[in-house]
Amino acid sequence: MTEQLAAALAAEEAAIYAYGVIGVRLSDADEVSRARACELEHRRRRDELVDRLDELRASTAPAPPAYRLPFEVADREDALKLAVHVEDGVAQAWRALLPVTDGDERADPLSYLTDSAVRATRWRRIAEVTPLTMAFPGRPG
C-alpha cells in the first residue's frame, strides 16, 4: 500500500503545481476561484498523505522542483484541458489504492477518486468538452 500512497502523493503534488499554471491562464473570476478551490483541496490531501506516509515510516522521493507539462499551456482553453487531465490523473492514483485496502480503509480513496472525477466533469463542462463523463473514471489506460 505504501507504493500506492507514494504514487498518490506524487499525483497530488503534480496537481498542485498544475493548478498554479492553470490559474495564470484563467481570467474569469468564477473559473479562477474554482481553480483555487481545487488547488486547496489537493494541498489538503497532499498534507494528509505526507502524515500517513510518515506514520508508516515510509520514505518518498522529494517532489521534483519542476514538472514537464503534457502539452503547452498558452491560453484558457489549454488551462481547462490541463485541469481535466490533472483530475483524471489524480483519480487514477486514488483508484489504485482500492485493490490494496479493505473495508473502511477504502472510504478516503473512494471519496477522492469520486471527487476528482466530478471535478474533471465540471472542468469539461466549463471547457465545453463532450462527453462530460467517462464510464470508468480512474481506470488506467
Binding site: L98, T133, A135, F136, P137, R139
Partner: protein
C-alpha cells in the same frame, strides 16, 4: 475390575459415536444428495440491475424528448458499459432489456428524477466497493465515481 469396566465403557462410547456420525452423515445428505438450493445472488448483481434500469430510464427520457439525446446518450452508454463489465465479472450475460424496473411504473422520468436515481445508485456502488473483495474494489469504485459524475452532468 475397575480398569476393565472403564475400557468397556470407552469402546461402547466409541461404537455409539460411530453410529451417531453415520446417521449424521446420512442426514447431511452426503449419502443421499438432494438438489442444491439456488446459490446466493452475486453481491455485484444489484449494481448490474441498477445499471440496466438506469440505461432504460435514460432511453425513456430520450424517447420522450429527442432534444435531450445528445446530452443523455453518452450517460446511458456509460451504464451499458458498466452492465457489460459487471456481467463479465459476475460470470453471467447481461440481459439486453432491463429487469422489472425498480422505479415505479408509469412515473414520468425527467432529468431531475434521473439525477436522484444516479445519487441513490452512487450510494449502492459505494457500499458495494467497500464490501467487495480486493480484485473487485476498483471496478465498483469506478462505477460509484461515474454515477457521481452523472449526477453532476445532469445539474
Amino acid at each position: 475390575m475397575v480398569l476393565t469396566g472403564r475400557v468397556l465403557s470407552t469402546s461402547r462410547r466409541l461404537l455409539l459415536g460411530t453410529a451417531l456420525s453415520a446417521t449424521a452423515l446420512a442426514g447431511c445428505g452426503l449419502l443421499d444428495r438432494t438438489p442444491a438450493p439456488d446459490p446466493l445472488p452475486d453481491p455485484l448483481q444489484p449494481l448490474l440491475d441498477e445499471a440496466l434500469a438506469l440505461a432504460a430510464a435514460y432511453d425513456r427520457v430520450i424517447l420522450a424528448d429527442a432534444a435531450l439525446a445528445a446530452r443523455l446518450t453518452p450517460l446511458a452508454d456509460d451504464h451499458r458499459a458498466h452492465a457489460t463489465e459487471l456481467a463479465r465479472v459476475i460470470g453471467t450475460t447481461a440481459p439486453s432489456a432491463a429487469p422489472p424496473a425498480s422505479a415505479p411504473a408509469g412515473a414520468a422520468d425527467t432529468t431531475a428524477t434521473l439525477r436522484k436515481a444516479e445519487q441513490a445508485a452512487q450510494k449502492t456502488a459505494m457500499a458495494a466497493c467497500k464490501a467487495a473483495p480486493r480484485e473487485r474494489a476498483g471496478l465498483a469504485g469506478s462505477i460509484a465515481a461515474c454515477r457521481a459524475t452523472h449526477a453532476e452532468a445532469l445539474r
